[in-house]
């Protein structure tokens, strides 16, 4: 089949990706679109840093600056970091537990397309009358007063992509609960699978409050309700609560999978079993649990009263304990290991001090009285960039290097990877370390300019130079990707040589059914165990070779998501007197969505079987990676 795949035209490939339900292809879709939005968000970051490069700059107007900071935050969190993590979860987690696909392949595709159309809708605001400008937190008091449709793009776009994320979360949970290979007990699951599991549970419980908050925002702005309208009895603090009940767990949704990637890297490149595996698992669960009890630390200055502030301050500080457990376990994994400084490992080592710095400033802000001083200053900006860039983005870059061979069958250049690393790492600290001091000196966040006599010029210039370094690093990474793809040097099952878990026991990229025979798992790091015992195949099997049941591809997820996209335009223009067609568009869009849902429900979709003979043929050819019969 692989020879056939090369002959496929562009149209066929496109159709294949539009209809695919294969978790590995959906992972590539997430990677490409998340990567695209990461570049868009990065471009916005560069514009911000150019504007703040010198005092009294007029590169951007104040209004445009507000739009850019709003879109930078929103894009990076919802459209870049999360989908990129979902890419790795999709690509790797089913392989790690020995499954042939996720529990709901159709829903997996639906989740992606909802995210995709939501993200496109949000970004269309740039071309259709202005982007949202109330900050990524979109506080109601600002948002309701915002002119134009920017906020509506935000609320509708995030609602759609939020549905997609929720679906992905449920899907991963069920996959891990029900589809683990025989012998893969919970306490034998690789740590990346564990963090995927906990992050998915957080998605499940954190996204509904956001959706409800966004619904209130949509109703208030577009259908004249009064949730946040104070003179009609509304209350803007409700938005803040709903947003942060989502928003704080969201931070852990982002960081936990990154922790998982780092845990894999530390074990592989130290050639050691993870130190304190059990403690790492329970620390992950605890972080997820506490993640829901701390949201009001974002609201210390709202005036909830000293009792509430004290409770949330304490709960926040407690989270440092499980996080500290993890840091020490990673250090002790490296300790005495036979360390290989691959690019992925270098990212992982760089992550530890960077993330600890972000964690320490987090505990500082947990002290409510101090937070009154730090609130809304650049200290906050520095803090959350230290945890998000120093934790999540380093994790994504490390994961890109680690899993690229498994996803694409080629190795990213380690040399260029090192160049990217040094530019990015130095640039990151240059940009954000100094912002702590800018904050302490009193520079407020979200201001579009400052005066020359405030003494912030030099520090802001240094920060902007750092951003340039990061941009160079990312450009080198893109060059790396292009060169690697052009050279197309294929790699084997276990390109790092020290893979420990099941994904390294199968071809890179794996055949579309992943495992011709379901493996039998005999312990933590099962592939490592088999290798150490001299098992040439790297796996023992739980079943004889037989027919495999696989799901059919479908265009319905794409159509269903497109319907939501259309309906969102209808809702957006619903109140505009000049656009009487809006209601029709809303009805048509919802009609497409519910119609395709009905088709999906009424039409039987039983999947198909790959026969034993085809599997044997594939094995002779060295694996079927095409994805279609």
């Amino acid at each position: 089949m692989s020879s056939l795949a090369q002959k496929k035209g562009f149209g066929a490939v496109l159709w294949d990706y539009l209809t695919t339900v294969d978790h590995k292809k959906i992972a590539i879709l997430y990677l490409i679109s998340g990567g695209f939005f990461f570049l868009v968000g990065g471009l916005e970051a560069m514009l911000i840093r150019i504007q703040l490069m010198k005092a009294g700059n007029d590169f951007l107007s104040a209004g445009l600056y507000n739009e850019i900071i709003t879109m930078h935050g929103t894009t990076m969190i919802f459209l870049a970091a999360m989908p990129l993590l979902l890419a790795f979860m999709n690509a790797i987690m089913p392989l790690q537990i020995g499954a042939r696909d996720v529990a709901f392949p159709f829903l997996n595709s639906l989740g992606f397309w909802l995210f995709f159309f939501g993200g496109i809708f949000l970004n269309l605001s740039w071309f259709m009358g202005g982007a949202p400008d109330a900050g990524w937190t979109n506080y109601a008091s600002l948002a309701l007063a915002s002119e134009g449709h920017g906020i509506d793009f935000y609320a509708l776009g995030l609602t759609i992509s939020g549905f997609g994320t929720l679906i992905a979360g449920i899907n991963f949970l069920v996959t891990i609960i029900n589809m683990r290979a025989p012998g893969m007990t919970y306490m034998r699951m690789p740590l990346f699978t564990w963090t995927t599991f906990v992050a998915s549970a957080l998605i499940l419980l954190a996204f509904p409050p956001l959706t409800i908050g966004l619904f209130f925002m949509i109703f208030d702005r577009l259908f004249d309700s009064n949730f946040f309208v104070v003179e009609m009895g509304g209350n803007t603090i409700i938005w803040e609560h709903l947003f942060w009940i989502f928003g704080h767990p969201e931070v852990y949704i982002l960081i936990l999978p990154a922790f998982g990637i780092f845990s894999e890297i530390f074990a592989i490149f130290s050639r050691k079993r993870l130190f304190g595996y059990t403690a790492l698992v329970f620390a992950t669960i605890l972080i997820g649990f506490y993640g829901f009890m701390v949201w009001a630390h974002h609201m210390f200055t709202v005036g909830l009263g000293p009792t509430a502030n004290a409770v949330f301050a304490l709960a926040t500080m407690i989270i440092a304990v499980p996080t500290g457990i993890k840091i020490f376990n990673w250090l002790l994994t490296i300790w005495g290991g036979s360390i290989q400084f691959s690019v992925a490992m270098v990212y992982a080592i760089a992550f530890i001090p960077s993330f600890v710095a972000g964690g320490v400033t987090g505990v500082m802000q947990a002290i409510a009285p101090l937070d009154y001083q730090l609130h809304d200053s650049y200290f906050i900006v520095a803090h959350f960039h230290y945890v998000i860039v120093g934790g999540v983005v380093l994790g994504l870059l490390a994961g890109t290097h680690l899993y690229w061979p498994k996803m694409f069958g080629t190795m990213l250049s380690e040399k260029l990877g090192m160049v990217t690393f040094w530019f990015f790492f130095i640039g990151f600290h240059l940009t954000f370390f100094i912002q702590h001091f800018l904050g302490l000196f009193g520079m407020p966040r979200r201001v579009y300019t400052f005066n020359a006599d405030q003494g912030w010029d030099l520090y802001n210039l240094i920060s902007s130079v750092g951003a340039l370094f990061m941009a160079i690093g990312i450009i080198v990474l893109l060059v790396n990707v292009v060169l690697t793809t052009v050279k197309n040097v294929r790699v084997g099952n276990d390109p790092w040589g020290d893979g420990r878990t099941l994904e390294w026991a199968i071809p890179s990229p794996p055949p579309f059914y992943n495992f011709a025979q379901t493996p039998l798992v005999r312990g933590l790091d099962t592939y490592w165990i088999e290798k150490m015992e001299g098992n040439k195949e790297g796996m023992i099997y739980a079943e004889p070779l037989g027919d495999i049941h696989m799901p059919n591809g479908s265009i319905i997820p794409f159509v269903m998501s497109f319907g939501m996209f259309v309906a969102a335009f209808g809702a957006l223009y619903f109140m505009d007197d000049t656009k009487p067609w809006a209601l029709a568009v809303l009805v048509i869009g919802l009609g497409i969505t519910f119609g395709s849902m009905l088709v999906r429900s009424l039409k039987d979709d039983l999947g198909f079987y790959i026969t034993k003979e085809e599997l044997i043929e594939d094995a002779k050819r060295g694996g079927n990676t095409d994805g279609h019969k």
Partner: protein, 208 residues
Amino acid sequence: MDINKRYTAQSWPDHPETATLEGKNKFVGFWLLLAAETVTFASLFATYLALKDKGPSGMEFTAAGLFELPLVFAMTMILLTSSLTSVYAMYHMKNHNFKAMQAWLGITVLLGLTFLGLEIYEFNHYVHLGFGFTHSAFSSAFYVLVGTHGAHVLFGLSWFIALMIRNSKRGLNMYNAPKFYLAALYWHFIDVVWVFIFTVVYLMGVIG
């Protein structure tokens, strides 16, 4: 799973909804979805409680003055009964008695439609009193909470009807048994939410 495999009451498994891997996945996935739905409604309830009786200065509407229990009590009884009839339907599903299942599902749908009709009547009544969606924060919170429940009822009814029509000619098999089961599960969830609405919105509202 072979969709054409014929079952008798004897060969039909005890738990057809979880007899296949697809069924198991749907079962677990649906319970998780209900967890997300629970958080959704919790957010709506919290907002309602925060905005109850809140409106522009001099607003004449309060929960104590607006709500009347007799109609809502009737609606509650109707919906609770429909939950019971859906249990009967699932009893017959598990015994592989397709006709009885369809009959009880039909009764469930009729009761659900009655409930929905009464809810529309109730909303219409309030709107005529001047208590519309845009009237105040209180009215917005009320309509969105109770209306979201109503939308769930509508979706549940459409689901039942679609399943009944689609499978009317072919009876029960391993492919559609989990679907019927989940629709009934959804219906119970809707019922539980209504019990909370009845308590929090209406009973606590009338008490003041």
